[in-house]
Amino acid sequence: MVDDLRKFLNHLLEKVNGLHCILITDRDGVPVVRSVTEKAPQLALRPNFISTFGMATEQASKLGLGRNKTIISMYSSYQVIQMNKLPLVITFIGSDNCNTGHILSLESQIEPFLKDLGTIVADAP
């Protein structure tokens, strides 16, 4: 059930110090599963912001370095880590001093659920 997955993501949020939210969305930023704390910036949760990753990862894959997997954006107050798991996109938003490597290590724990979640977004209207 998606509720179990949400509880699991909440547990991951508590494990990583400074992590504010974990979003699993489709390419256009429409959320499939989300786990958010009150510290997460609301503007960064909107589809306008998350959908920019789809274009960025597609263009980044043309740089001759292979397929783009992850983009890490560091801001003065936050850091945004987005992973290319098309048709899904995983977005982590944390504080600027959050442990980036710890966030990246969460990928292997979320990976087992992506196959089933991918079928939900497969036939998007």
């Binding site: 179990d4 959320p31 589809p47 306008n48 043309k62 087992p112 089933d116 209207p125």
Partner: protein, 182 residues
């Protein structure tokens, strides 16, 4: 008699010349169409040339130009498509935003599909896990480690322990030093 002999000689020479000449004409004009004769001789082509080009190239040139043009067009289109795929043009993409109606429709669709989907429950994280009884029995029934290996491990651990116990700090100078500020 002599004249008859000369005449017959002349006739035979002329005859042989005629047959040689006719043979040359025949070999030039006649085409070897027998496919079973693959004998290599002075008439064998050194390079394999397709028969269409050997016969009349000019009348067939006009008939083949339209297919060649379409092949060129296909190749050009393919090159154009590949270049468009590989070129990086961020400015051309422009701002993209999902309409509110489409967004809410998708949210509803995903929520409905997620509710009906049978997702496997996430495994709770743990360091030690119980083995199933069959695997447990198999592990316990396995033969113990070699006695030589056990001795090696024991000796190595004893040596390490004695080495660590011999570690000590040798005091040479005072740790607390007064600052002599004039």
């Amino acid at each position: 008699m002599q004249s008859n002999r000369e005449e017959s000689l002349l006739h035979s020479c002329f005859g042989s010349l005629t047959s040689a000449f006719m043979g040359c004409c025949y070999s030039i004009c006649h085409k070897e169409t027998d496919p079973q004769e693959n004998v290599v001789n002075e008439r064998t082509h050194l390079l394999e040339v397709p028969e269409q080009q050997q016969e009349t190239p000019s009348p067939t040139a006009c008939a083949s130009t339209p297919p060649r043009k379409s092949d060129e067009q296909t190749a050009l289109n393919r090159i154009l498509h590949e270049t468009a795929t590989n070129v990086i043009d961020v400015g051309a993409l422009g701002p993209y935003s999902l309409e509110a109606g489409a967004y809410s429709e998708r949210v509803r669709a995903y929520t409905a599909r997620a509710a009906s989907a049978a997702l496997p429950p996430p495994a709770p994280p743990r360091l030690l896990a119980d083995l199933p009884p069959a695997v447990r029995r198999q592990m316990l029934a396995a033969p113990p480690i070699n006695s030589t290996d056990k001795e090696l491990i024991t000796n190595a651990v004893k040596k390490a322990a004695s080495a660590i116990s011999e570690l000590r700090v040798e005091h040479h100078e005072d740790l607390v030093v007064p600052f002599r500020v004039p």
